[in-house]
């Protein structure tokens, strides 16, 4: 059995908000509240959920941009927590990111060649010619001509800019790339190009992805495993195709039922769940989803369900528990 590239165990990130004078009376937002997952080498973990579910905080924890309040992350068998500055630097070579907006993530004052070379300059002590050769190779990887290196980002379209951002992420040959909504800012006809490119790169280079997006079909298409988050917790995690076809947690069911059809005749059960995602400052007791859940039972409001193995996946729902654990 292969070992996981990245393993997160009971990861928590709490933010204090609205703290009064002398730090009293502050509320705590449990942005990520006990999340465990693993990312296998050369595979994609897709994370879906609505605003405030904690998917972006999870990505930041994986990128070492936030320190977890509790829990651990192991990368390649080594714990991340407690790394010194040099260790974090080495870790960041192995983990890169591509963000949603390629207009914001590329410096307008740098030429594309310099943008792509920047991680090489930061992390590797290479000769000029070697850097140039690597930039050319990376541009070729992402389907841009070599002369692109001499141009500025504003001379490119959104899709091309996202290719540049991907080339920059690939520069230091990372093992994991965090993709935070990589295609949602792009035109519809461009999205398939970028999704295909990401897939091809994964096949060629064996890189793993943490793919965060609200477009469920794109996540299902790209991912090997899907984790569904709601108010800081994973409510369901399992093989992508199984989750997309037979979601089990009532929230996953509602989420996938809310996905738009791809054809007017596509039969889909309409599950319109009432209400909105509650504030993460004061999440509902028990199962966070119970006030909106069409199948809520009395115990759901008092007892938080644990994420348990069920069939081919893990689900956090009392419906799938049978008798309560002794």
């Amino acid at each position: 059995m292969t070992t996981a590239l990245l393993q997160a165990r009971d990861l928590r990130k709490h933010f204090s908000v609205g703290r009064g004078l002398f730090g009293r009376g502050g509320a705590v937002v449990r942005a990520v509240d006990g999340v465990s997952f693993e990312i296998m080498p050369g595979q994609t973990l897709g994370v879906v959920g609505e605003s405030g579910c904690g998917k972006t905080t999870t990505a930041k924890l994986v990128l070492c941009l936030e320190t977890p309040t509790e829990g651990s992350v192991d990368f390649d068998g080594h714990p991340l927590v407690g790394l010194d500055a040099e260790g974090v630097r080495r870790y960041r070579r192995s983990v890169q990111a591509v963000f949603q907006d390629p207009y914001a993530s590329l410096s307008p004052r740098m030429r594309v060649g310099a943008i792509i070379a920047e991680p090489l300059v930061t992390h590797e002590d290479l000769q000029r010619e070697k850097v140039d050769a690597r930039v050319k190779e990376l541009l070729d990887f992402v389907g841009l001509p070599a002369r692109a290196a001499t141009l500025f980002p504003h001379e490119f379209s959104g899709g091309q800019r996202q290719r540049i951002a991907i080339a920059r992420a690939l520069a230091v040959s990372p093992k994991l790339i965090v993709l935070d909504e990589p295609v949602s800012a792009l035109d519809v006809s461009i999205r398939a190009q970028i999704l295909n490119l990401l897939r091809d790169l994964q096949t060629q280079l064996g890189v793993s992805y943490l793919f965060i997006a609200h477009d469920l079909a794109a996540v299902a298409h790209m991912s090997h495993t899907i984790a569904v988050m709601y108010l800081g917790k994973i409510v369901e995690i399992g093989p992508a195709a199984a989750i997309a076809k037979t979601p089990q947690h009532p929230y996953t069911q509602a989420l996938f039922a809310a996905a738009l059809p791809s054809h007017p005749d596509e039969a889909r059960d309409e599950i319109v769940i009432p209400g909105e995602v509650p504030s993460p400052v004061a999440p509902p007791s028990g199962c966070h989803f119970h006030p909106r859940c069409p199948q809520a039972m009395p115990r759901c409001s008092s007892e938080a369900p644990a994420l348990r193995a069920h069939d081919d996946r893990r689900v956090a729902c009392h419906l799938y528990e049978g008798a309560p654990a002794a």
């Binding site: 006809s189 298409h221 509602a254 039922a257 738009l260 769940i273 009432p274 909105e276």
Partner: protein, 325 residues
Amino acid sequence: MTEPLLELRSLSTHYESARGTRVTRAVDDVSLTLERGRTLGIVGESGSGKSTLALTIMRLLPPAARIVGGEIRFEGEDLLQKSPHEMQAIRGKRIAMILQDPMASLNPLFTVGDQVSESLRVHEGASRKTAWARARGLLEAVRISAPASRMNEFPHQMSGGMRQRIVGAIAVACEPRLLIADEPTTSLDLTIQAQYLSLLRDLQRQHHLAMIFITHNLGIVAKMCDAVAVMYAGRVVEAGPIRQIFNKPAHPYTRALLDSIPRLTDDSHMRLPAIDGQPPDPSAPPSGCAFHPRCPQVMARCREQAPPSLTVAAGQTARCWLHAP
């Protein structure tokens, strides 16, 4: 046969640069019809002219834009012949609009009650008291809980989904005949989007509204619309009944667009059939058919001559030389 509710005839809107040297044909020779109570989807990518088309119908264009030709027949009248004052009486009363960002449509300094009752007072001359009472009923109709207390709250006290529902309440306040929704759910979460779309459908049934959905999302079209018009570089390249277009797209662009979208129902770990290249710069579209540089079935003729709108099936038209007799 009764007259359609809205009929656009060869409508063209151009943007001109300050010195008049650059002309962008944002909307180019667009003809469409919409029957009463029906829903038309207008899909296109950024720069395709779909939002300019909506603003043209509302006659809310920015100063740099000019309607250079065509007709907008609405309930038998040509809206292009109306004075700005007459248009004011039509907007919000007979044609209403919902924009993508509800915060941009709501005034942060007035209570929700003020804003929902405003159009009733302006367009129907309702008294403050009646308008307020009717506004409360409208909030209830758009499923806002505790409407009476929400009336005295400000937009910033509400969630994005609630704000967008309030914009919906304002839109239907004066019983318009036509509702134009420009990307109304783009800023909403998935389950909130589902709530909003089902709300719009209910409002449509109750008020016998005709709707135009401006969107880049073919899923919304599949879910909500009876007919669809696909725009590319300012032109309607294909239009027709929804099932016809999804089952038998006649224009290579429509077909490619439908194929390139990942589906939940796919068993896919295959590659998506992507469209090469990128959408054209609207100020410098390619010669002939604007799609020809990306078209897998391009012919010599496509590079020189723009194809006319050709009928390919009952109610379905396409601007493509493949369908020329």
